[in-house]
C-alpha cells in the first residue's frame, strides 16, 4: 500500500512537472489574446481618474501587461470591497487601487508579491540641516493623513494643514511628494507600504504570470512616481 502511494505521487510529479501550476478557473488562458477585466479604485498616484479613464502608475503597468498578453483591457470603477468580492468569484481578472500587502483582503483575493515599497518620511528644507529625530519638533502633515498619528508616536507634534507643500520647516509625506515640493528627504521613515495587485484567489498560473511581469518594475515605478504632478 505504501509503495503504491509513493509511485502515485511520483507519477503526479512527472505529469505535472513542466505544466505547473495550473489555474483551476483557467484565467491566464482566458485572458491571453482576449480581454482583461480590471477593477479600478481611485487612489492617487497609483490610480487616477481623468474623464472616466484610469491613469496613474498601476494603470500604466496594467496596460503594459495587457499588451504583453495581447489582450484588450476593460476597466470597471468601484470600491475595493466590491472588487475583492468580484475577484473571489472570478468575475474580474485583476484589481488595482494602491493596495497594500497588509490589507485585510488576503483571504478573499490572491495578492501578488509586493512589486514596490513606498516610504513616507520626514522631509526638511534643503537649506537646513537634516533632523536626527522629531522628538518635540513640529512636523507639517496633510489634514486627515494617518502620518499625523505616526508623528505623535515618535514624540513629534503634527501640524495638520490643507497644503503641507507650503510648510516652512519639517514636513511628513511620501518620497516623491517631498521631491516634487522641493524638500530634502531625511532618514526618518514614518511608514513603509508594500504595494501589491489583487487577483482571483487560487488562480496560481495567472498569479505567477503577473508576479513575474511585475518582478523588475521597481525602477519603472520609481520613475513614473517622480513624473507625477
Amino acid at each position: 500500500m505504501e509503495k503504491h502511494l509513493v509511485y502515485f505521487v511520483l507519477a503526479l510529479c512527472l505529469a505535472a512537472g513542466c505544466a505547473m501550476p495550473k489555474d483551476p478557473g483557467g484565467t491566464l488562458e482566458r485572458v491571453r489574446g482576449d480581454t482583461l477585466l480590471v477593477g479600478v479604485t481611485e487612489n492617487e498616484p497609483w490610480v487616477t481618474r481623468e474623464d472616466g479613464q484610469p491613469g496613474g502608475v498601476e494603470a500604466a503597468l496594467v496596460r503594459q501587461l495587457a499588451e504583453e498578453l495581447d489582450a484588450e483591457v476593460f476597466w470597471t470603477w468601484g470600491g475595493v470591497a466590491e472588487h475583492m468580492e468580484a475577484l473571489s468569484h472570478r468575475e474580474i481578472d485583476l484589481a488595482i487601487g494602491g493596495l497594500a500587502r497588509s490589507s485585510p483582503w488576503q483571504q478573499e483575493a490572491g495578492l501578488t508579491q509586493p512589486y514596490y515599497t513606498s516610504r513616507e518620511r520626514v522631509g526638511y528644507p534643503p537649506a537646513s540641516a537634516a533632523p536626527e529625530d522629531i522628538d518635540g519638533a513640529v512636523v507639517a502633515v496633510e489634514r486627515g493623513d494617518v502620518l499625523a498619528a505616526y508623528i505623535a508616536d515618535r514624540g513629534g507634534t503634527p501640524h495638520r494643514m490643507e497644503t503641507p507643500a507650503r510648510a516652512e520647516g519639517l514636513v511628513a509625506a511620501s518620497d516623491w511628494e517631498l521631491k516634487q515640493w522641493g524638500f530634502a528627504a531625511s532618514d526618518i521613515v514614518l511608514h513603509r507600504k508594500q504595494h501589491v495587485m489583487a487577483l482571483p484567489p487560487g488562480e496560481n498560473a495567472w498569479i505567477m504570470h503577473v508576479e513575474q511581469f511585475l518582478q523588475d518594475k521597481e525602477a519603472d515605478v520609481a520613475q513614473m512616481l517622480e513624473q507625477q504632478e
Partner: protein
Amino acid sequence: MRRRPPYRFPDEQKKQLKKAVWLARATLFFMGTVVVVMYLAMGSSQAMKTAWIEDMLTLVPAAVFLISSRYWERPPNDQFPYGYLRIGTVAFVVAATALFLFGLYMFYDSVTKLLAKEHPTIGTVELWGESIWMGWIMIAALVYSFIPPVVLGQLKLPLARSMRDKTLYADALMNRDDWLTALSGIAGILGIGLGWWWADSVAAGIISIQVLIDGVKNLKDSVADLMNQRPTTVGERDRHPLPDRMRHELEKMDWVEAADVRLREEGHVVTGEAYIVPRPGTEVTEKIQEATQHLHDMDWMVYDVVIQVVPSLEDQSFSDHDTPT
C-alpha cells in the same frame, strides 16, 4: 505508612534509557528545525498548516518522555508510597488527549475550508533573481520534514521494545508514520499545481484524521494502563505470558498447595499480588521470603509482587452483607 522499595532499572535497561533520552533530545532539536522550516514555507496552504501543527505535536511525546524519565527511579516517599512509576503514563494520557483534540480541530478546519470552496493561492517567491513557484518550496520543506522523524522513529522502536516503554513505543510509531503526512502534503500541493483546488483541503483532512487516530489509540492504551489492565506485550494487545509463568513457578514449590496471581503494569514494570494456599504445617514466613525473591528473579520487569497467604483460592468477599456464591 510502609513504603515500596525503590525501583532500579537493571544495567542493560539503564544503558538503553540513556540512549532513549539522547534520542528524545535529538527529536526536540530536529523537529524544532522542521517546525521552523515548515513555518517559513507554509504560505496559505491548509495542508502545510496541518502538517506544521502535526510536527509541533511531535515535540510533545519527546518532551513528556524527557521530563518523566527523571522521575521513574525516584524512591517512594511519604506522599507517594507507591512511587513515581506511573508518571509517564499519566503524562501520556494528557499528550494523547492533546493529539485527539488537535486532530479534531484540524479536521473541522479542513472540512470547513473544503465546504467554503476556498481556492488556496500559491504564488511565486523570488530566489536568486528567479521567480520560483512556492509549491516547490513547500514540497521541499515537506520532504525535509519527514526525514528526521522517520530516522528517529526507527532508532527508537527497538529501545522501546526492550525497555518495555509503551509511551516511547507509541512515540516511535508516530515518528515512523510521519512519511504518510509528508506524502499527503506533497500530493495536496501537487494537486493544487494541477488545478485541483480541493486537493489542499483533502490532504489536510487526511493528515488531521491520522493525528486523530493516533490520539485515540494512545488514549485507549494509556487509560487501559491506568485502569490496571493485565500485562500486555509491547506493541501488541496479546496477553503477556508472565502471569501464567508466575503461577506455574509458585505451584512448583513444595510448600504450595495452590497458587494464583493478579498482576498489572505500572509503566515499565509488572506488579501485583500472588495468592498462595500453603500446605499444612509450613513455616510460612520463611517460605514467603524465598518465594518472593524467586518471583523477582524471574524477570527484570517484576517489581514489588506481594504474596498473600490465603485459606483457599475461592473468590473473597469483604462485605458483611454479601454471601459468597
